[in-house]
């Protein structure tokens, strides 16, 4: 779709009148179009007025129920706010799945380090924290979780298996007999989340078989990807993915 077509979608976007694939395409466009951003912000505020005009009274019991529910719900960590904007609830998020993952890895590779792929994490701190917790117990905990779900894929001449535990909100990527990365390169893992990628850490380039606790919470990610990156990893994918998997429901 050409840019002018996309620009005309500001109204449909603010009204949530786009299908998932068009929404993803529009959001890619939005990230680099200031004029669209301004218009979308104004339209969103306009649509908010329609919402306010619909205000009704609520049952007192609903208040009690919601206030009780939140005591049992863990809050997301701050940061990575850009992911939130495009997150879809429930099935919507899954529906994006593989397509969105492929699209955003490919697009990220194409755009390289442009601002399209804002990467909002304090990477160093996250890396250190993640390394500290990347213990065998955590890997085993995910693999042994009662709600663990898995999915397999061929990757670099070997086999890869993604195991996700919803209750732990963590994922493990296990590989066997994987070819070593090219010299000076490393395999990097990614969570795909509504059209954005967030790093889930690096694999050990010296081992062909390993189980890696993916860095960070799954947090509604629709899929995971593996790319080949320069040693030390990248803030966003710089090459096409060598493996893609949707997160098992």
């Amino acid at each position: 779709m050409i840019a002018t077509d996309l620009h005309a979608l500001t109204g449909a976007y603010a009204l949530h009148a786009l299908h998932d694939d068009e929404r993803a395409a529009f959001e890619h466009h939005l990230a680099s179009c200031d004029a669209c951003g301004q218009e979308v912000a104004e339209f969103t505020a306009t649509v908010g007025r329609l919402a306010l005009a619909s205000t009704v009274r609520t049952r007192p019991a609903m208040r009690e129920q919601v206030l009780e529910r939140i005591t049992m719900v863990r809050q997301v960590p701050p940061g990575a706010a850009v992911l939130e904007r495009v997150r879809r609830g429930g099935r919507g998020g899954r529906a994006l799945g593989r397509w969105a993952l492929a699209a955003c890895v490919a697009a990220a590779a194409a755009f390289g380090g442009t601002a399209v792929w804002q990467y909002e994490r304090a990477q160093g701190a996250v890396d250190r924290a993640a390394q500290a917790e990347r213990h065998a117990e955590d890997v085993a905990g995910v693999l042994a979780a009662p709600d663990a779900r898995s999915r397999s894929v061929k990757v670099a001449g070997g086999a890869g298996t993604l195991v996700v535990s919803a209750s732990r909100d963590r994922a493990v990527f296990a590989v066997s007999r994987m070819a070593p990365p090219p010299g000076g390169k490393v395999y990097q893992l990614w969570f795909a989340d509504g059209g954005k990628m967030r790093s889930a850490g690096l694999m050990d380039p010296g081992r062909s078989s390993q189980a890696v606790l993916m860095q960070g919470a799954v947090d509604g990610a629709s899929g995971i990807g593996v790319t080949v990156e320069p040693a030390g990893g990248s803030k966003q994918p710089t090459s096409a993915p060598i493996a893609l998997l949707s997160v098992p429901a």
Binding site: A8, G11, L15, F43, G48, R49, L50, T58, R85
Partner: protein, 194 residues
């Protein structure tokens, strides 16, 4: 009615919602209760407007409010006001629900779609809400028929613009444009700035 109430251009929300949301982000449950009191009626109202069904609306509204708690740490004021962040989430969730399989069959009747009017069926004693309703009604009347139908079907029925085009037997490009024109006119009529 002669209430000395300013019919302002700004949404009638608690001015400190953004600060409250910041406290919610730090895990403050009392702050969340205050946020709830400020927005629950509007969140439920959005769900009602789209879904009609009381039970489903309340389910969606509850989920949205819990989601506000869960994701408050990721709210970014520079991306928009707190109330719009919450209402956007509410509308999107309601639309997701109405597009789910079981609801899809029920929306296919063209006659039923065109007959549809925004439902302000709840008597409200809130002066602010009444004023908001009057303004929105008045401004919706300033739209052309096609603009009004397109915006109404998309917003209150959760149709995609392609479905709107089908319902109105119009080219998709026309509907795309009408939605945008319609919102521009509404925006200007309501005096919205962002």
């Amino acid at each position: 009615m002669k209430e000395p109430v300013r019919i302002g251009a700004r949404p009638s929300v608690k001015p400190d919602l953004q600060r409250l949301l910041h406290e919610v982000a730090l895990g403050d449950q009392e702050a969340f209760a205050a946020v709830y009191d400020a927005v629950a009626g509007s969140v439920l109202g959005v769900a009602r407007a789209v879904l009609r069904d009381q039970a489903q609306s309340e389910e969606v509204a509850q989920d949205v409010l819990v989601e506000v708690w869960r994701t408050a740490p990721r709210y970014r004021p520079e991306r928009g006001t707190a109330i719009n962040w919450i209402l956007t989430l509410a509308h999107r969730r309601a639309v997701d629900r109405v597009r789910s399989v079981e609801a899809a069959a029920a929306r296919d009747t063209k006659a039923a779609l065109l007959d549809h009017q925004p439902a302000y069926d709840q008597v409200t004693e809130e002066v602010e809400t009444r004023l908001e309703q009057e303004q929105v009604r008045r401004c919706l009347r300033t739209l052309t028929e096609l603009q009004r139908q397109s915006v109404t079907l998309a917003y209150y029925r959760g149709l995609t613009y392609r479905e709107v085009a089908e319902a109105l037997a119009l080219p998709v490009g026309t509907v795309k444009t009408r939605l945008r024109d319609g919102l521009i006119r509404l925006r200007d009529c309501l005096g919205v700035t962002a």
